[in-house]
C-alpha cells in the first residue's frame, strides 16, 4: 500500500501532506506529557515491531503479496494519536529506504496512519464492546481487533483506490481490483495482528489501552478528560 512518487497528481499529494501534517502535529500535542517515561522503551519497541513486520511480504497466490500495516494494532494498544506518531516514524524511514515516495509521504501517512488508526480504533472499540458481553476482555480485544484489522485494511485500500481514480488509466474496475486483492491481504493482516496482540495480552497486558488497569489509558484517550481528577473519564476508551 506504499505509493511511490510519480503516480498520484501533485495537487492531491500536497493536500494530503497538509492534512497529515496537521493530524501529526495535533497527535504529538495530544500525547505530550500524557504518559509515564517508564513506558518509553515499550513504545520504541512497538515502532520497531511494526517496521520489521512491514519488511516482509507474505504471498497472495498466485500473483500478488501483502504485508502487515499495523495501524489497528497500534491504535488499540496505545491509542490512535500515539499510533499516528509511530506510523509517521515508520513510514518516514521506509520512504528514506525507497519504499513509498518522499512526495507521497503525506498520502501514505494519511492512508496507513491517520485514516487507518482512527478507523481501526473505532471499529475495534465497537467490536470489543459487543464481544465482551460474550467472552472475557482479553479474548474480546484479540478477536475484535483482528476483525477490525481486516475491515480497516479493505476500507483503507478502497480509500486508496478512490485517490487513484485521479490517475489516468485507473478506473472503477481497478478500484474493485485493489479492494478485492486487499480482501485476501486483510486476512493476513488479521492473522498477524492477532498473533502480535496475543503475545502482548499474555506478556504485557498493561500495554493494551482497551484492557482494565492499562498503563496507557491516558495517552489513548480520544475524548479529552481531566485525568488527574477523573479516573471515570478513561472509560470513554474502553467501556
Amino acid at each position: 500500500m506504499h505509493v511511490p512518487d510519480g503516480i498520484i497528481p501533485l495537487w492531491l499529494l500536497l493536500i494530503l501532506y497538509v492534512v497529515s501534517g496537521l493530524f501529526l502535529a495535533f497527535s504529538i500535542k495530544r500525547i505530550n506529557r500524557r504518559f509515564d517515561d517508564k513506558l518509553v522503551p515499550y513504545m520504541g519497541v512497538l515502532a520497531a515491531v511494526v517496521f520489521a513486520a512491514q519488511l516482509v511480504n507474505f504471498p497472495v497466490p498466485p500473483f500478488s503479496s501483502g504485508h502487515l500495516v499495523g495501524s489497528t494494532l497500534l491504535a488499540v494498544m496505545v491509542g490512535p494519536f500515539a499510533g499516528i506518531v509511530i506510523m509517521a516514524l515508520v513510514l518516514f524511514i521506509q520512504a528514506l529506504y525507497g519504499d513509498g515516495g518522499l512526495l507521497s509521504y503525506g498520502l501514505n501517512l494519511f492512508n496507513m496512519g491517520v485514516f487507518s488508526c482512527f478507523f481501526g480504533w473505532a471499529a475495534s472499540l465497537l467490536l470489543f464492546k459487543g464481544m465482551r458481553k460474550a467472552m472475557n476482555d482479553e479474548r474480546a480485544v484479540t478477536i475484535g481487533t483482528s476483525i477490525a484489522a481486516f475491515i480497516t485494511t479493505v476500507v483503507a485500500a478502497f480509500v486508496l483506490g478512490l485517490e487513484l481514480l485521479s490517475v489516468s488509466g485507473f478506473n472503477e474496475l481497478a478500484l474493485a481490483a485493489i479492494t478485492g486483492v486487499h480482501l485476501i491481504i486483510g486476512v493476513g493482516e488479521a492473522i498477524l495482528t492477532s498473533a502480535i496482540l496475543l503475545y502482548f495480552v499474555r506478556a504485557k497486558p498493561r500495554l493494551i489501552s482497551f484492557l482494565k488497569d492499562s498503563d496507557v489509558q491516558e495517552i489513548a484517550e480520544v475524548i479529552e478528560t481531566d485525568w488527574a481528577t477523573s479516573q471515570e473519564g478513561t472509560k470513554v476508551v474502553a467501556k
Binding site: 517515561d37 522503551p41 515502532a47 529506504y97 525507497g98 481490483a177
Partner: protein
C-alpha cells in the same frame, strides 16, 4: 528499573525481530510478488510504472536477500532509537 527494562525487554526484542526477518528473508519465505497496490495499479490497470523517484539511501548496496536483511536490521535499530527519542521527549517524568 529503566536499565533493567532495556536489558530484559528492548535488546531481546530487537534480537528476536532481526532473527525473524533474517530467517524469513534468507529462507525464501518472503514473497517477491508485487504487493496489492502494485498489482492493481501496474499489472491490472496498466498504469505506467514511474522510472524516476528516490531509490533509497541503501540503493548503492544493490539488491538481494542478504542486503535486505542487513538494511532491514539497520532500519529496525534506527526506528527503535528515533522512537525512543521521540517518546522520551514527549513523556512525563515521574
Amino acid at each position: 528499573m529503566e536499565k533493567e527494562t532495556y536489558i530484559k525487554f528492548v535488546i531481546p526484542a530487537v534480537v528476536v525481530l532481526v532473527a525473524i526477518i533474517g530467517i524469513t528473508i534468507l529462507s525464501g519465505l518472503a514473497s517477491d510478488n508485487p504487493d496489492g497496490f502494485e498489482w492493481a495499479v501496474f499489472d491490472f490497470a496498466g498504469v505506467a510504472e514511474p522510472e524516476c523517484g528516490f531509490p533509497g539511501i541503501f540503493s548503492f548496496l544493490g539488491e538481494g536477500p542478504l542486503v535486505d536483511v542487513l538494511t532491514g536490521a539497520v532500519g529496525i535499530v534506527i526506528v527503535l532509537f528515533i522512537g525512543l527519542l521521540i517518546f522520551k521527549v514527549t513523556s512525563r517524568k515521574e
